[in-house]
């Protein structure tokens, strides 16, 4: 891996997404303002923040990741002195960088809008959960290089996560204890954050391993 090449490619993607990112940051700031405002506006802040997270995730996945092949710019990039593994790492790093600022602000809006009020632990868990979700979808996009594969990963995740949250968790005895412990800032917070970070790291590692085994890069 060459840090310089990766940094240049990350800079390229950030430059290409400069205007949409500015719009997402502005929307995320508005969502915080709404969420922190009168109770009547909180739901608007919450839904705007969710829209920022969803829109940003799709935009990053469909634009700099899947869009490169469709727009035939991938062949141009891959003809430059970069290795496929570095290009994949750059995509992941660029996506993380693009997500961090507007995503972090939108997660703050969600934490503020929740009945508990803003707590750093809740903010961290919300952002971490979305990053874990996003990293799996992003890995699917980079590995499969297809919209179909990405949508399959996305819908599969929503199906599994949704059913676990709605059907399974309420039936478990420890769910209530876990929620109370999280709200109290207990050991469940770092444990959950650790799981979320492990999921992100696993998605990154899997992406690089699969990229290393590919035989076609355009």
């Amino acid at each position: 891996m060459r840090g310089r090449e990766v940094a240049r490619l990350v800079g390229k993607d950030l430059s290409l997404m400069r205007l949409p990112l500015a719009a997402y940051v502005a929307a995320a700031l508005v969502s915080v303002a709404l969420a922190a405002g009168p109770p009547a506006l909180r739901s608007a802040g919450l839904t705007l923040a969710l829209n920022v997270l969803i829109g940003l995730s799709f935009h990053v996945t469909l634009g700099p990741v899947l869009g490169e092949r469709e727009k035939k710019t991938l062949a141009f990039v891959m003809s430059l002195p970069v290795r496929p593994r570095d290009a994949a790492l750059a995509k992941l790093a660029a996506a993380g960088a693009m997500f961090a600022l507007p995503g972090g602000i939108a997660a703050a809006a969600i934490a503020v809008a929740l009945p508990l009020g803003m707590r750093p632990s809740v903010w961290g868990l919300v952002l971490g959960a979305w990053m874990a979700f996003f990293s799996i979808v992003l890995a699917a996009a980079i590995v499969t290089e297809s919209i179909g594969g990405t949508i399959a990963a996305l819908t599969g995740l929503i199906f599994v996560a949704g059913n676990v949250a709605i059907q399974v968790l309420p039936t478990l005895a420890w769910t209530g204890r876990y929620v109370r412990d999280v709200l109290a800032g207990g050991p469940s917070v770092p444990l959950t954050l650790g799981v979320e970070i492990a999921i992100v790291a696993g998605a990154v590692a899997a992406t690089l391993v699969v990229q290393g085994r590919k035989s076609s890069f355009v």
Partner: protein, 233 residues
């Protein structure tokens, strides 16, 4: 210095319904080789293998005396690639692309880039969106030649261009060859290959069916297309 710009030994690649079989091919530094064949003959696959964009299932690939893909980055820094299946970022200017390529290449020669801008009549600050297909090919060539590459690999660079633009591009390639740059060129147009290449190789159904100096083929059939058809039929 090793005299080979490209050396393929026993290279094979299998896809569903297509096999590139046991290809041996070499190209000396400073020389130009044209690949001629119909759609699906394997020209693009062969070129992508040379560029490291596709990994072969079998065989050895050496470019500029280095092994692909082990020395991929080093090779790509000395090779320029232009393809009809390649595009620049439409919302960005040529200057933006020049800065990107320069940031990834220690060989970038800004003075030469400025000379080429004038020579190709390109404006660096104009958005790529406003460039014609021919101007985009010129821009891609500029981005390669300003790196002082030792090998140009071109996959159907004249596809979709009008005759005047094709003539201009062939003149640019001829100049590059005279400057010592080796060229591997695939084209549907036999006259493009004849204008630039010293030798031509005919590809059909994933195999090289003939290779000879361009003058030899022209002497046989009057045109490269005629010589190709005589062999394939």
């Amino acid at each position: 210095m090793n005299a080979q710009a490209i050396r393929l030994e026993g290279v094979g690649k299998r896809y569903a319904g297509f096999t590139l079989a046991d290809i041996d091919l070499d190209l000396a530094r400073g020389r130009a080789l044209g690949l001629i064949g119909p759609n699906g003959a394997g020209k693009s696959t062969l070129i992508r293998i040379v560029m490291g964009l596709v990994r072969p299932d079998a065989g050895r690939v050496r470019v500029l005396a280095r092994a692909m893909p082990a020395d991929e980055r080093e090779i790509k820094s000395r090779v320029g690639f232009v393809s009809d299946d390649m595009a620049l970022y439409r919302g960005k200017s040529l200057r933006w692309h020049m800065d990107l390529v320069a940031s990834l290449n220690v060989n970038w020669d800004e003075a030469r880039a400025r000379v080429l801008l004038d020579r190709f009549e390109l404006s660096p600050h104009r958005s790529v969106r406003g460039l014609s297909r021919g101007q985009q090919v010129k821009a891609l060539l500029l981005l390669a030649l300003a790196r002082r590459v030792e090998l140009l690999v071109l996959d159907e660079p004249t596809a979709g261009l009008d005759p005047l633009m094709r003539h201009q591009l062939m003149a640019i390639l001829d100049e590059a060859r005279e400057d010592g740059c080796a060229i591997l060129l695939s084209s549907h147009h036999g006259e493009d290959v004849a204008a630039v290449a010293d030798e031509a190789a005919f590809l059909s159904r994933g195999a090289i069916v003939a290779r000879a100096p361009v003058a030899t083929f022209l002497g046989e059939g009057g045109s490269l297309e005629a010589a190709f058809l005589a062999r394939v039929s």
